[in-house]
Amino acid sequence: MDESLIDLLVALLIIGPMVAGLGCFLIRRLPPIGKLVIAVAVVMIAAVLSLSYEVLSDGTIVRPSEDLSSFGVLITILDLALMLGFVYIAWMSKSPLTGVFAVIQIAVMAFIELNGVEEMGNAIYIDQLSVMMTFITSVIGSIICVYAVRYMKHYHGHGRFFAIMLLFLGAMNGAVFSTNLLWMFFFWEVTTLCSFLLIGHTGTERAKRSAITAAEYTLGGGAALILGIALCMQYFDTVFMDQLPIGTGIGGLALLPLALFSVAAFTKSAQIPFQKWLLDAMVAPTPVSALLHSATMVNLGIYLLLRLSPALHGTGTLLSVIGAIGALTFLIAAVLAITQGNAKRVLAYSTISNLGLIVACVGMDSSLALTAAMLLLLFHAISKALLFMSVGVVKEKIDSEDIDAMQGLRDSMPAVSAAMLIGVAMMVLPPFGMFASKWLLSEALTSFPLLALFLVLGFGATLVYYAKWLGLVFTGGTERRRFHDEGTHRIYLVTLMSIAIVGMAATAAIGLLLDELVNPFVSKIFDPALEMNDWVLATSIGIFPMLALIALGIVLVILVLLPRRMPPMMDVYACGERGNIKTGTFYYWSEDRVVKTTEMVNIGMSILLIALMFIPFLMEVTA
């Protein structure tokens, strides 16, 4: 493909949405904004598909920084403006913590610029991992924006909302395309800004407080990131991620930047003890939760860890502690999810839990685990987006996010219940991708059996909270009492169906994904361990019959949906009584206990985090 065409595609994916966002801001009225958003969605999906094809067929795309030096200067100036903007926000919201972090970032950035930055490297670096992330952002993100066009009808501030959503999409793409750490840091902070603005969009007291909490936590991560970049310059003499050495050669204090990068990743991905901001962020409108806080932005922390996996490979204790933090987060968030009664909070805990699982995979430092991490990343983004969108549609209809209120949804909203079933099925049932990843992870655990304890407990807890929620949705009356009033808007049905189809296509094409997308990335560090032979996923220690299960799934679904002769219908048994039976759900722990557990867990994990920061010093002393 022509070089300038590639440049155009990259520009379309980064700058295109930002320009369109500006357009939305100027237009302000919803119907023309809707058309603009749909146009942007189409353009972005086309661009990302062409770019993916290019990368997968011709290999990594690179653009050296000398060619883009003007952009470099622009980014530095904008970065400074952004930091000053955060100081302003801190002053307006009376949050000293935000101000402190913003000032730290300005100071460190000034230090970096004054000490001169080695600009000899690749600024743009698009490989298979970037393709996966940008696919998630551009395809799923665009579909969520289209969904938001209808959802935001009852809110105000449309111009501002869509401007920031599209700005966010551009910034995400920018973050995954840049290897220059300073550029990535800029895009990282732009996403922080977008998150802050979108959470506080409705302007209520609670929204404003949640927004500033999110800003505090993620700015803290940003401060860790920029400090890590400064130390990176000192120890590795570069700001380019692809020039970092392989981890086996890193020792002692040189591990410090890596530790700081992991802390930044943990704040962005809301790992424990930083999970508060994500839980509070659920006050935002549902498209924001779907886009930022489940499918894309929180994946940025995971992306950073995956991008740094060559540098982390072989670092021994550091990686083990990272893995332990991930595994503990997975277990604790899964257990806490069982206790929640609000659907969005359950999904938030579920997101934190799955991200912890991916971090644990990275921490296992093996080929199978890295493969599992990439597959989990993709499938988790798809299913979470689907689940959040379904919850949004339900919330619009019944005006409540509580699981108890969703009881019997199967009768009143069959299509949306089906979407929820597919979303949960993608997380839990074979042959979908998440399930294959779970199998893969279990196989990977044989090389790291001690983490296995936390992970098996977490897998059990995951089944419990999904069964609880989905079961209540499917609690139906007898067949006689079915209503068929759906009344779900066309846009909702189309967007929900598109994401479901993307998920199913990704599952069916898992062999293709492995060969083209995942294994080439894993090969940079390890020998690929997972292959697809004759439609059977095979590792050196086990097999998973993908085709058989997919075929079986199709057959079963057809059998279930076919009309057939049923036995006589009967009412439920109620000791001989008739009439309205009420059922509810069960919330294993009281609110008090949840709060106490969260406090204890936060303290414990903070200690683990401090231990993480001490490891470089420990290594230096013992070396």
Partner: protein, 290 residues
């Protein structure tokens, strides 16, 4: 690679599994009856129960209940198939986990308080059993270096004694025996999650439960595989009979405990035992490799 004859034999074994499990359950009822000083029904009784249920028309409440019940049966049957034909044990176990998930969904699909009560108790059972058995399967994979049942090491119970022992309480839970008959609690919650099934649909859930027992017993018996086929068969038969006998004795001598004590017992003692076993093996490996 196994020969065609072996493949055919394992498929035939899978088809006969309900019969074998039915006989085992019948034996359990006879032993329980004799322990209680009465005559008892006879070995074939559980099979007669199943046939009776499958031949009655029964009733249903709504179609998602039926759908989930049939799906649960399908997944359990496939899990048993994967296990018996000697394929990946972890796949088989994860599929059976999905089967239990679907059974809970079937129980929750009806607006009946007993059904919901039973379903939530069943979820507690899943939370108690799944982690332990998953860790046992992981230990088996760790010891053998593979998850393929046909390629696993022989007599693994010599290196995994605590895992084999921890499997027995898991079987007590899954067989719905005191002290852990939590989900169905016999008549106290009117058959728990199975309350709204009747006739043929009840037969289907019973069959699904039997295939699940097949998976659990299959995992236990994999620990007792030997190189000599005949000796292996003899040992496995003895193990099954001994397990049934021990479980019957435990059943007759204990009262039902609460679900929290089941969870505590399972996740602290059983999971701890398997983890300890795994830890010891890990340390031995590290020590040997230096």
């Amino acid at each position: 690679m196994s020969s065609v004859l072996e493949q055919a034999a394992s498929i035939a074994l899978w088809a006969l599994t309900p019969v074998l499990i039915g006989l085992m359950l019948g034996l359990d009822r006879v032993i329980t009856a004799r322990l209680q000083g009465r005559k008892g029904p006879g070995l074939l009784q559980s099979l007669r129960d199943l046939f009776k249920l499958l031949s009655k028309k029964g009733s249903y409440v709504n179609s998602s209940q039926m759908a989930f019940a049939y799906l649960s049966l399908a997944l359990y049957a496939i899990a048993a198939f994967v296990l018996i034909t000697g394929s990946d044990v972890m796949t088989a176990f994860l599929l059976s986990g999905v089967g239990s998930f679907l059974m809970v969904m079937a129980a929750l699909s009806v607006r009946s308080p007993y059904s919901h009560l039973g379903a939530h108790r069943e979820l507690m059972q899943i939370m108690a059993v799944e982690p332990v058995v998953m860790l046992i399967v992981l230990s088996m994979g760790y010891v053998s270096g593979t998850f393929l049942g046909s390629s696993m090491d022989y007599v693994m119970f010599l290196s995994l004694p605590l895992a084999a022992a921890a499997m027995v309480p898991m079987l007590v839970i899954r067989l719905e025996k005191s002290p852990f008959d939590i989900a169905t609690a016999h008549s106290e919650i009117v058959s728990g999650p199975y309350v709204e099934f009747s006739g043929r649909t009840l037969g289907i859930t019973k069959l699904a439960h039997w295939f699940e027992l097949a998976v659990m017993f299959g995992i236990l018996l994999l620990l007792f595989d030997t190189a000599d086929q005949a000796l292996g068969l003899a040992i496995k038969t003895v193990v099954v009979l001994a397990t049934v006998f021990i479980i019957a004795i435990i059943d007759c001598s204990t009262a039902r405990l609460t679900r929290w004590s089941m969870l505590r017992f399972s996740l602290i003692f059983c999971l701890g035992a398997v983890a300890l076993n795994l830890l010891v093996l890990y340390i031995i490996d590290l020590g040997v490799l230096g």
